[in-house]
């Protein structure tokens, strides 16, 4: 759906995107994680066609961004980081304005406004002026406007900035619902790991303009997964039994099993051996799936400090 090849972008002498290569399949939510200033918004701005680039090729739905921009823009939409809405207008007037500028009119426009306000749960507030909205409602309206043209690709640039936990969860659920029901391909940028973990199918980690990791969320989170099994006492004979399992390391009274392709078989075998030798298991500890730890490992810095 989205193909980025050798993308470079600089502001003056500062290189902000350095040889980005990324492939995003249709219908998935890609969580783009990175600290402020990592290049996430720049990348999204280039993809939506409002910012130029120094080098590289971009194909959206098979269309070359350089030659088919106007066509691409009709199937894409962006939910900007800022609240790109008019506070002095009502929610309906905002939706009508942005829908009208996208060429929607009459019953089509009305139907889209109805759908978008239903998704964003704003039906009861359509005639209310936006400056009277809460932060969460403004964010939902910002998102609803992004859905007006029924986009096949939706870029969400930190869409939950400044909202409370309840509103954030609502917005994340809303995004997952749209993806599930409409099959919309999404790029979701954030520096909140919890959001990325919650909403994404794929994860791309970007730092200082470099794409340092990307792939399916599960694979990324589980690649460093370990289970520690603490037992009462391990005999010499038992130690020899475990030597055959490459992913297992035994130290003192603890067996550590690293995740690999035989993980489940290995785990069953270890427990079978322990059972057959009547070894008492004191504790089982699985290493938590932790994106922050992964980010720390990759960049040697904490996301919040970056």
């Amino acid at each position: 759906m989205i193909e980025i090849k050798h993308l470079y972008k600089s502001y003056g002498k500062q290189l902000v995107l350095d040889d980005i290569n990324l492939s995003i399949p249709k219908g998935v939510i890609t969580g783009m994680l990175g600290p402020n200033g990592a290049g996430k918004t720049t990348l999204v701005s280039i993809l939506i066609g409002i910012m130029g680039r120094d080098q590289g090729e971009i194909f959206i739905d098979g269309l070359n961004l350089d030659h088919r921009l106007s066509e691409i823009q009709t199937i894409c939409s962006i939910v900007p980081q800022n609240l790109a809405i008019y506070p002095m207008l009502s929610a309906y007037e905002n939706l009508e304005y942005f829908g009208g500028l996208q060429g929607l009119k009459g019953p089509t426009l009305k139907a889209r406004i109805d759908y978008c306000t239903e998704v964003a749960s704003l039906q009861s507030f359509l005639s209310k002026r936006v400056h009277k909205f809460s932060g969460g409602m403004k964010r939902r309206l910002n998102l609803a406007i992004g859905l007006l043209n029924n986009p096949r690709i939706l870029y969400l640039d930190e869409p939950t900035v400044g909202v409370d936990t309840q509103s954030r969860n609502y917005i994340l659920e809303m995004i997952k619902k749209i993806n599930r029901e409409e099959g919309t391909t999404m790029i979701y940028t954030s520096h909140y790991m919890e959001e990325i973990e919650q909403v994404s199918d794929m994860i791309a980690i970007i730092d200082e303009g470099h794409l340092i990791l990307n792939g399916p969320k599960q694979a990324i989170l589980e690649q460093d997964f370990k289970v520690s099994i603490r037992v009462c006492e391990l005999s010499r004979a038992l130690l020899d039994r475990f030597k055959g399992i490459k992913a297992a390391r035994v130290q003192d009274d603890c067996i550590r099993l690293t995740r690999d392709e035989d993980f489940h078989d290995n785990l069953i075998e270890i427990f079978s051996v322990l059972k057959s030798h009547a070894v008492e298991v004191i504790d089982i500890d699985s290493r938590d799936k932790n994106l922050e730890a992964l980010f720390l490992k990759l960049t040697r810095k904490s996301l919040r400090d970056a």
């Binding site: 823009q73 939409s77 790109a84 500028l101």
Partner: protein
């Protein structure tokens, strides 16, 4: 067309709900027109002369001195207040300051004889022009009174010589007819304060679109709305043109409103009524040119400024300077020559001249062509610079 409809609707809704913008665009110029039309009425008044108050002490008490005082009274330009003929200098001075007389005329004893004739006491704060006019008037009328006095009793003899003494002594101002010239047809209009105030404050208010326009535009720029619109395949040119049309309509409404105020409201408050020329084509042309220039100026300010406060300060200060320089606040004809020359630097001056051509000088399309072209040219330059800046900022 549909997109233009939604742009117009949005701009008018946003503006209509902005009380401050409405006040700046409509209430402020109406107030200025009313205040300035009434306040400057005397400055333009040519029929009712504002009389100069003079204290008169006639110590001579001769027929000649009495005849001279009567001649002055007949002129109608002076309001003469007689003091006791024996009043001394200290009392005269006291009265001058107590009753706010700028002048006192003391006709000394022996006035009817040759030699020293009269003393004019003048306050230092007196305007030099007023003093000169008064002194020359006194001298001219003194000479005339003396001649009349000397010719007294010789009417019959002069009649034989074909000289009509009454005609000879006719007030000089009845011999002068005043005609105002206009650029176009031979019609003329008497310039009044409302003829100056309406076009002046109209041009000023048209340039004040800088406040609401820059406020909206900077909010759109800073809060990502322009970015969102760009992502909807809407070009920078269309975005800027989307500002031109609604604010042009606002400017048209301003023109109609200010004209109505000048024609109907000012007379109700005791001022003169605005009279318009008959060239509606010329009026539309100069309105369009001023509007394009003022909106381009507003867009340029909005594109340069980072915050709305910044834009309001830049726009407001520039407007006041351009207004002061361009003859908006002070009519150009009361400015010294070098200031009148400097006023051509202000586009507001070109706009004002254009409107004066229509309202006062009965000009037509051709008469306002020069001003309109100048305004359009400078407007085009500012619009192009704005487009360049916006494109550059959005594509960074």
């Amino acid at each position: 067309m549909t997109k233009i409809f939604y742009i117009l609707k949005k701009e008018f809704l946003v503006m209509g709900r902005d009380v401050h913008a409405l006040a700046v665009l409509f209430i402020m110029p109406v107030a200025f027109i009313l205040i300035m039309s009434l306040a400057m009425r005397d400055l333009f008044e040519t029929h009712t002369v504002n009389q100069i108050k003079i204290l008169v002490v006639n110590q001579d008490k001769s027929d000649l001195s009495r005849a001279f005082v009567q001649t002055l009274e007949k002129l109608g330009a002076f309001s003469l207040h007689h003091m006791d003929d024996e009043s001394g200098f200290d009392l005269i001075r006291h009265n001058m300051f107590q009753d706010d007389f700028k002048f006192a005329l003391v006709i000394e004893k022996g006035f009817s004889l040759a030699g020293r004739q009269m003393i004019l006491l003048v306050k230092p704060s007196v305007n030099r022009q007023t003093y000169t006019i008064l002194k020359n008037t006194l001298a001219a009328n003194l000479a005339k009174t003396r001649i009349a006095y000397q010719l007294k009793g010789q009417e019959e003899m002069l009649g034989y010589a074909g000289i009509d003494i009454d005609k000879l002594m006719q007030p000089a101002d009845t011999l002068i007819e005043t005609r105002y010239v206009s650029k176009g047809k031979l019609k003329f209009k008497v310039p009044t304060s409302v003829q100056q105030s309406v076009p002046a404050w109209l041009v000023f208010s048209m340039f004040f679109v800088v406040i609401p326009l820059s406020n909206t535009f900077i909010a759109e720029k800073n809060y990502g709305t322009l970015m969102r619109l760009q992502s909807m395949n809407i070009s920078t040119g269309f975005l800027l043109a989307g500002k031109l049309l609604p604010f042009f309509i606002v400017n048209l409404i301003q023109v109609v409103l200010m004209i109505l105020v000048g024609v109907f409201l000012v007379p109700l408050l005791g001022g003169d009524a605005l009279t318009m020329g008959d060239s509606y084509g010329g009026l539309l042309l100069i309105t369009t040119a001023v509007s394009f220039c003022s909106i381009s100026f507003a867009l340029l300010v909005a594109s340069i400024a980072k915050t709305t406060e910044h834009a309001t300060t830049i726009g407001g200060v520039f407007n006041i300077i351009l207004g002061a320089l361009g003859g908006i606040m002070i009519p150009k004809f009361v400015m010294p020559d070098f200031m009148q020359t400097l006023s051509v630097l202000s586009p507001m001056s070109w706009g004002l001249e254009g409107f004066l051509d229509i309202f006062l000088r009965n000009g037509n399309v051709l008469d306002v062509m020069k001003e309109s072209l100048l305004l359009s040219f400078i407007g085009l330059v500012m619009f192009s610079v704005t487009a360049f800046i916006i494109r550059k900022k959005l594509s960074l």
